[in-house]
Amino acid sequence: MSYLPNVLFGLLLVGAIVFFIKNLNRIRKNILLGRHIDRSDQKSERWKNMARIALGQSKMVRRPIAGILHIIVYVGFLFINIELLEIVLDGLLGTHRIFAPVLGGFYDFLIAAFEWFALGVLLTVIVFWSRRNVLRIQRFWKAEMNGWPKWDADLILYFEIVLMTLFLAMNAADYALQLRGAADYIVAGSFPISKFLVPLFETITTPNLMVLERTFWWMHIVGILGFLNYLYYSKHLHILLAFPNTYFANLKPKGSFANNPMVSKEVKLMLDPNADPYAAPADDTATDFKFGAADVTDLNWVQLLNAYTCTECGRCTSQCPANLTGKKLSPRKIMMDTRDRLTEVGMHLEKSKSPSINDGKQLLGDYITPEELWACTSCNACVEACPVDIDPLSIIMDMRQYLVMEQSAAPAALNNMMSNIENNGAPWPFNNQDRLKWNQN
């Protein structure tokens, strides 16, 4: 019977991890539904990018208040994970504070540091919540945040508040028991924050306090495993995906838009006087190929990784000139729509068990409207603003390609501009023979 908690803990741990990995695999599979794009080049540049932007948070601190607050939570999260290792070992082995005898005085320092981090995270998360709900910072209240996204953001903050509180409460109860010299409670650790909670337990008997301490301990670890599995259902995946996302990010100048290779092939053929116009198309021109993107499977896998990485902070949208002037376009919504559609496609594929994703819906039209796409000035403000190098602009441009090259659905004024280029080599109706006339007064 005495092994029951250990076994229970082991089952819980394995269950939580297996469930999480299963979901991660779903994400992986969905991302790989995207078209191929080669990002295997410039490895050292890519590692540097990841180190600077994801690990070093260099783009976060461009907004110093949010940036520094985020670093507190981020560093706190990283360090408290070391404590998690001890908790997991204790849980599996039935020990209590297993690192204490090994680490000696350093253990006290670590526990004290964790407590300070926990307090830092707790206070910061409260500030985060206030920024969303009291200060009501605009970017958190844009149209695309209505409903679940708003809930999701708050829920994550509540989760963190509860977890940090449980961590401190667990330590406080432990410390109180240590002070009472309770059996099995090794005198270890230093509790600069939770010691202030000890008086709360004064009236509680030692056996009851032990139950309370165990309850806090269990709730804390169950909470963490729950949070881990919540990631998949939330916008919070950035804590993992920010790393691959910055690694695989575009390293070219932001103004360099990809040249569509399928178009290159066709254009070269058109301009080649020796090309045989009746030649059978090469094998790789699959019949279902389309120019540009109408659905998530027409996007490349990095764009799909982008979509899962987005944590909906809205920095992109708050810098978007179209959004700032009341247009419907919101780069954040482009990313959220892409992710939501991709999740839908993934679920459809799982259910139907067929490789076809014909569910009568697509990203263009059902999620993203042409009005949004045509409002973009391609200014790259969204790409620049993203703290994890997400590129909403490339999705907008791919979808414009579909609208124009597959549907001929450009606004009339743009069609005029394009026929001018075709006929006169300029976007306006001027004769190309007059190109040098600017030198005349």
Partner: protein, 270 residues
């Protein structure tokens, strides 16, 4: 001062690459005028100002003239990749035929397209923006800047998206302004956070989508907040958008919108 000069020169002598090639010569650098610089009434003035500086600094340059065609930027940004690549390949053929190695342009859109999107299609050139060439001339001592009429003036500079964020050119234009002994005042959104003028992504050629304000008005308001006496631009499209914005705010008489090349040409009394 400029009108006098303009009246004197009825036709500017501009060397073309074709004429030079016929004479067995090659320019050091090709000035890619761009569609706006060739056809747009406002942008033509920028072209002329830049030509004056090139001539004064004795730069060996030439233009393609009628052999130049749209780079394809607005087509590409509209989603017409076909038209873009047709334009690109045609232009690349011309440029390669003349063995062009260096290109300068006063249009950040041409600059970006030629520099970043042509190499993959077979066009490999050193492409610089005119503010970068002017800065080089300054460093080489060929261009000597004195404030002239701009000395002590408050100038704010609007970063074109395709020069700034897209290609990280933030300092060249600013160096030039500072060299004029002018007081450079920054807008609240500048450099990597610079707000778009509203023309990019082919918006120049269409009506904006429904909203509560035009982007160029928002940007003009940011420029006016600086209390600058001159708004400096480095892109013909930004120039148009901001000029319209200033007109809308009924400030045309007080606050001119000028390209950096125009400011320098005027300061030099060219």
């Amino acid at each position: 001062m400029t009108t006098e000069n303009h009246n004197k020169i009825k036709i500017m002598e501009v060397p073309t690459v074709a004429a030079m090639a016929a004479a067995g010569k090659k320019p050091d650098i090709v000035f890619w005028v761009g569609c706006a610089g060739s056809f747009d009434e406002r942008a033509k003035k920028i072209t002329k100002a830049f030509i004056k500086i090139l001539t004064q600094c004795d730069v060996s340059y030439a233009v393609l003239g009628t052999e130049e065609s749209c780079t394809g930027d607005p087509a590409k940004r509209s989603g017409n990749e076909f038209l873009f690549q047709m334009q690109a390949l045609t232009n690349i053929q011309v440029l390669n035929a003349y063995e062009v190695t260096r290109i300068v342009t006063a249009c950040p859109h041409c600059f970006n397209t030629l520099k970043n999107e042509y190499p993959e299609l077979g066009g490999n050139f050193e492409v610089i923006h005119h503010t970068q060439l002017l800065e080089q001339l300054l460093v080489q001592g060929k261009l000597v800047l004195q404030g002239g009429s701009y000395k002590g003036k408050k100038i704010t500079y609007h970063d074109p998206c395709y020069l700034g964020r897209a290609n990280q050119v933030y300092e060249a234009p600013r160096t030039l302004i500072k060299k004029l002994d002018a007081a450079l005042v920054e807008m609240k959104n500048c450099k990597s956070k610079g707000l778009c003028c509203g023309a990019g992504g082919a918006q120049m050629f269409k009506e904006p989508e429904k909203g509560n304000k035009d982007i160029n008005i928002l940007r003009t308001e940011e420029a006016l907040e600086t209390k600058a006496e001159v708004i400096a631009a480095a892109c013909p499209f930004c120039n148009t958008m901001l000029t319209d914005g200033i007109k809308n705010k009924e400030k045309s008489a007080e606050i001119p919108v000028k390209d950096i090349a125009e400011i320098i040409a005027e300061a030099q009394d060219l």
